[in-house]
Symmetry: C2
DNA sequence: CGGCCTTTTGAATGTCTTCAAAGTGCGTGG
DNA sequence: CCACGCACTTTGAAGACATTCAAAAGGCCG
């Protein structure tokens, strides 16, 4: 877990504490599951659609996507999974996965099974962490709805703006980006898969945003130079919404 | 609750029992909440995005859509809500709604707050119903993923086929449709809103399906004349998947 | 019958995809 | 150090799919 892309313990507890106040016991539990991680090369299937979930894991470093593979060989992405996000988190025993989770970059994950069972067994002593985990799942759902809006109602430029703002907010939230720049390991083709666009059109769309001075994208990093204009273009405050309890 | 479109008690308990075996106590509880319903005209907002949920309700008759209103006046539909579906079902106190639910047709709903609190308080005595409710929410999530696939990867004919099959399966599952026909109260414009297409293009798409003898659509009813071919066209077995436990 | 909503049709336009090829950057091995 | 290979980016041109605008036709209810 030495990658520069790995979430720090502070950022992880910070993110969850922002969702619901954590007790010292909660923090200790989080610390304990971070002890040993597993590495997965790009393309690794972290969770297979239709199969029973072995146990929840925490993504610590790298990027993955949550997607469905279609019978005709196509695939559709529902959301990105970033450091600090859980994979296969579910309160019922051995649930079956509705979607696959696949590593895009090299990825590090930790077993979160112990965390889940401790919280479940702990009752009130882990009420804060329980609440934080539930809210975290809620946000996953919210991001899928954002994706529906992108795919259903937005053109290429709008999708790109909305998606870049989402990434910006999420990565800053876990301390992996700052005001200046964020890591951006996606190829233009991969970006097209996420946004439901061809790689060629992603290229032209990015050129527009660059020409207008809103975005810089090079060397594995992205800079949002004009967030206000991007927000205007994106058309909905996908990521400006408070991280609040939500159906 | 006299509408011909209302779900019967048998169908409702049947649907939930298919998700998880219900006890007699579960069935009595379901019966009790069906006693009095409220009527809402088309366009009624049953649940408002961003607002705290007053309490869960059960849709008994009529159709609604779960959607988001965008700042620019556009709207995006995430899923249809049909008789037997819950609205605002959530295990946490006073959650905030991520999406609005709006009546398309005249609608009847029942308060399901008592059901939720009884199940929560009842512990093991309502384990079956608890499981059924949780799975029901899971299926709502699954249908949103189906919608993402439609919007992201399918053309007009494919979307239409996939959507009609979904409706067919869901309505038959609650006894509101049979092998022959299903009620179909949506105008072509409304259908376009659901599928992310213009009303005009919905019209042309339907003509294709009718000309090919796959669908009949008139007088508020739809007939799927060639389900096999529709399944082939739809490209993914959205609704043929077993209603199983799933992430 | 008249009004209103819905469906149908035509034509022009727009956005994105596809195919093909050229250009760029970077690491590996000679 | 240079040459090569490979993946990614960029560019052009043609075509597919869906939208928009406008108008005509159909159906239902007062």
């Amino acid at each position: 877990m030495s990658s520069g892309r790995a979430i720090s313990l502070e950022s992880l507890t910070g993110r969850l504490d922002g969702l619901a106040p954590l007790s010292p016991k909660d923090r200790a539990l989080i610390t304990s599951i971070l002890r040993d991680g597993a590495s997965h090369p790009p393309g690794s299937v972290l969770l297979q659609q239709g199969q029973a979930v072995a146990g929840p894991r925490l993504l610590v470093a790298g990027w993955a996507w949550r997607m469905r593979s279609l019978p005709n060989g196509q695939r559709q992405v529902f959301a990105l999974v970033l450091p600090g996000d859980f994979i296969g988190l579910c309160w019922r025993p051995r649930p079956r996965a509705l979607s696959s989770t696949v590593a895009i970059t090299p990825v590090t994950t930790c077993d979160a099974g112990a965390l889940l069972s401790e919280v479940r067994a702990g009752g009130d002593s882990h009420a804060g962490l329980y609440e934080a985990l539930t809210l975290s799942s809620r946000h996953d759902e919210m991001r899928v709805l954002d994706q529906v809006v992108r795919l259903g109602r937005q053109n290429a430029v709008e999708r790109m703006a909305s998606f870049l703002l989402e990434l910006d907010q999420r990565l800053r939230n876990v301390g992996l980006a700052d005001d200046q720049a964020m890591p951006f390991p996606l190829s233009q083709d991969a970006l097209g898969v996420v946004l439901g666009l061809s790689g060629v059109h992603v290229n032209r769309t990015l050129q527009t945003l660059k020409r207008e001075g809103m975005v810089e994208l090079a060397g594995g990093f992205a800079r949002l130079l004009d967030r206000d204009r991007l927000r205007t273009i994106s058309g909905f405050e996908a990521m400006a919404r408070p991280y609040a309890d939500a159906i």
